[in-house]
């Protein structure tokens, strides 16, 4: 995919399909350590050992419309092409953690991309799920937690357009302040 943020959007869809009520997205980047670490963890239904063993195989999928599921294999490929690594832990009934790392200066690393765009897509169509997005870069850590936002909003849903706009600005400002990379 053109951006790491699109892979993240894709993998989080898996968490939502697994009936997660909370999804945590963590990005930690360091130019000096030459690494970008991404982790997506959820409290969904998880996978049993058999399924987990084969989950990075494109022909292993829960889909019924096609025999191929490319989300995880493509993310793994993106990480490995950028000199990084990929792993998944999962426990049935508990949840799943997907981890991918990338070499920051690798020419084949896709840009992190529009994380605000990914978060607002997720928030606008998944009203009942809570998301916590934390991003650590050169100047510190920025955290976006939908639970906090819901507190202030009361009964107004997060999918309201003005709210989505506010969230986009809030995330972009936060990422700018910590000097998150956009390239």
């Amino acid at each position: 995919m053109k951006e790491i943020s699109l892979h993240i959007l894709d993998i989080v869809q898996n968490s939502v399909s697994a009936k997660a009520s909370e999804v945590k997205i963590d990005i930690a980047e360091s130019i000096s350590e030459n690494i970008i670490k991404v982790s997506i963890s959820d409290n969904g239904c998880g996978m049993d050992k058999e399924f987990l063993k084969n989950v990075t195989d494109p022909f292993t999928t829960t889909r019924t419309t096609r025999k191929v599921g490319l989300g995880i294999p493509l993310f793994k490929l993106a990480a490995e092409q950028a000199g990084g690594s990929f792993s998944i832990e999962s426990e049935k009934g508990v949840g799943t953690i997907v981890r991918a790392s990338f070499e920051h200066n690798n020419i084949d690393r896709s840009p992190i991309g529009d994380m605000a765009g990914t978060l607002i897509s997720l928030v606008s169509v998944n009203e009942t799920v809570d998301f916590v997005y934390s991003h650590t870069a050169e100047n510190g850590t920025f955290i976006f937690d939908t639970k906090e936002i819901r507190n202030t909003l009361g009964e107004v849903p997060l999918s309201e357009y003005e709210v989505l706009n506010w969230i986009e600005g809030y995330i972009n400002e936060g990422l700018y302040r910590i000097k998150a990379t956009t390239y």
Partner: protein, 122 residues
Amino acid sequence: MKSLEELAKIREQVQNNIHMRDDSTAGYRIVVGMATCGIAAGARPVLSALTQEAAKRNLEYVKVSQAGCIGMCRLEPIVEVYPPEGEKVTYVKMTPEKAVKIINDHIVNGKVVTEYTIGAAE
């Protein structure tokens, strides 16, 4: 600087404006394909254009949601419009610009944009 105070103001505004909502389009459901195929083909900006245009036209009762893989990956991004009564319309190879036209022509004015439908593409 975005602050939680701003968000509290937005809450007030939304609650006060509830009476201005256009409910003549209530019952319309718009579904955007957001599986790997859709995302790779550009579904995120299409979803964003749909929500933005629906908000611009005050179509607060139109529900936009997502679907997994619809099964026609080569035609993604796909947008399905379910009217309150009658058959759904499947739009294929969507772009943000086409999304705006669909909100205005199909949802607001009731005219299906046939050249973007799956029938026209096959």
